[in-house]
């Protein structure tokens, strides 16, 4: 037996000595990540899809498969309304973070020539994140409220006589809050891509006779598109899954899919929450897939 084992070992070694260790190491390095993803991402998603077909009664849930929760979701105006609100707010926040974030990124990534200074400015953008999410959201209340800072200042300088009530507990306040919170996720990737543009490429375009807007449209914008797409993916995924900002700043007037899930889970309606969850997951997948179509990130990064 000893003989046989020795013989076996040597034959393996002589047959394929260079490739022998390679597959072992690959599997070893991948195992923790794959295991983690299977256990905590793939399995829960499958579970969620499964539970969405369970039978829900007022007090309990049974693993008897039915389409009732799905039918209820798509025939209820409240839930379809929440789906539409989610899409609308996502689109508005996406556009407003881009409008606010792109010029800021342009300044930090391209116009600030000093690398140390531009890094410092990017760090400044992240400073609000040193406080908790809830505080950042709630801090908007004294700003936007009927007797809040903005209304008081506007009244003091005589721009308005009546406080603007729509500022707080409305869709507008949710959009303002989300734009502020998620803007930095747009600025970062764009500033990174802009910072990678070789300054001599822009000088070359100048030398060839192009003015600033032409250079922006033909050189700077296309070269920063991967940053825009990455930023848009960050913002989209976070805004689509949002529930806290809308709960805190809309006074429960704005219901996103996230809020629906929270409420349903709170009242133990698991099957219903699962349906909303599946819808939300499909929506996010579609959005990310569409954004990745815009730019071939593998080629650009």
């Amino acid at each position: 037996m000893t003989m046989a084992a020795t013989h076996h070992d040597t034959s393996v070694e002589t047959a394929a000595p260079p490739t022998r260790k390679q597959p072992d190491r690959t599997a070893l390095l991948l195992a923790p990540g794959v295991l983690w993803m299977l256990l905590f991402l793939v399995a829960p998603i499958l579970m969620m899809v499964y539970v969405s077909f369970w039978t829900q009664t007022t007090f309990k849930i049974e693993p008897t498969l039915t389409l009732k929760s799905w039918v209820a979701f798509f025939s209820s105006e409240t839930y379809l309304g929440a789906l539409w609100t989610t899409i609308r707010i996502w689109l508005i926040v996406l556009v407003s973070t881009l409008l606010v974030g792109y010029p800021a990124a342009l300044f930090v990534g391209l116009f600030v020539k000093n690398k140390t200074l531009s890094t410092a400015l990017l760090v400044l953008c992240v400073i609000p994140f040193w406080t908790s999410f809830l505080i950042r959201v709630l801090a908007w209340r004294p700003m936007l409220g009927k007797e809040g800072a903005i209304n008081m200042i506007l009244m003091k300088i005589g721009v308005i006589t009546q406080p603007i009530e729509v500022l707080l507990f409305s869709e507008l306040s949710v959009i303002i809050g989300m734009t502020q919170i998620y803007c930095v996720f747009m600025v970062g990737p764009i500033a990174f891509m802009l910072g990678r543009i070789d300054p001599s490429v822009i000088e070359a375009a100048q030398d060839l006779g192009a003015g600033f807007w032409r250079i922006f449209r033909t050189i700077i914008l296309p070269l920063s598109m991967p940053g825009v797409v990455v930023g848009a993916i960050f913002v989209s995924v976070m805004v689509l899954g949002e529930f806290a900002t809308s709960a805190a700043l809309s006074g429960r007037k704005v219901n996103l899919l996230g809020n629906i899930i929270v409420t349903q889970v709170g009242s133990l309606k698991w099957a219903f929450a699962a349906v909303a969850g599946v819808v939300l997951t499909i929506l996010m997948g579609a959005v990310v897939a569409a954004l990745l179509r815009v730019v071939d990130l593998r080629k650009e990064l």
Binding site: S200, E203, Q206, D207, L208, A210, I219
Partner: protein
Amino acid sequence: MPSLAAFARPADCEAFREKSGPELVGTEVTSVLQLKNVHKAFSGVPALAGVDAALSENSYVSLLGPSGSGKTTLLRVIAGFDQPDGGEILFAGKRIDSIPPHERGIGFVFQNFALFPHLSVAQNIAFGLSNRAVDPVTDTKIVAAKVRDMIGLVGLSGLEDRAVTQISGGQKQRVALARTLVTEPSMVLLDEPLGALDANLRTRMRGELRTIRERCGVTFLHVTGSETEALAMGDTVLVLDRGRIAQSADAGTLYSRPASADVARFLNCYNIFPGAVSGDAFESPVGRLALGGTRLTSGKQAYAIRYDRVAIRPRDAAAAGDEVRIEASFVASEYSGAAINSFFTLDDGRVFEVETHLSHAAPEAFEEKARYALVWKREDALVFD
């Protein structure tokens, strides 16, 4: 071969020629670019300390300078990327110091090519034509025709739709040049254009650059740190030293009659001794060197002898009456095919280089650390005083 008619000169240049036609012939009509006392300092450190130069039309000018001599700064000032602190820049007779780069009509070829990475070869070349602020070409057919001719001229046919990230260094160089030439500039500035290429390609591109320039009839100002490149390329060679033009001459004159010991040093073909003339000899750290060669006036006194004008003889050989002789110990030699360069240390520790051409004689073997006599004709030396 593309039709050369496609490279008709730009209208403004044409107009300039007619205007300044016959009555100015023989005066300044041949200088396309004039620099008068151009100054530029970066946070107090002068980069250009009063540059005066005139570049003639339709010529290949090379600008030689060691690193830190201000050559890139000078180029950027001419192109308009940097503003001079003082002085005048005249281009085709007009002051251009305050005009933005894109209105100057001067093309710039960057050292790293600075191609637009997201555009194809043809799109890169078409960029200037269709995007320039002044007089853009909107007819896509005209743009396509000009681009096609230019691609033929620089020898890039077949690569039109390639991404510029997928072509070789030499091809990138051609795209960079074509992109500038297609906008028909009156002058092209090239910032160390061959620096990013490998040695083989560099030699081939030298010839190509000259041919392309001759076909387009524009002035090229080629900046380089390599003396061989400067001498090989330039109809005129400008030597820039510490922010000033130290010499402006044709290659032959520059090589045999450098204007100062510093210029001689950049040429990398002269042994230079400091010291002073006293009586009929030059008092140097290695002894008295008899005079008899060319005397040149320059700020600093020095004695220079070309590497290839020195003969190596056994120590006991005596010098003839018209020769200068010093002794040195042999260190090493470097074989470069057609010639061999031998290095000696003089008594004061200075390194002395001798270049021996091998076309007539086989290389001699010298003994390391042995003493030899180094001999040259008095008349071959240059004496600066």
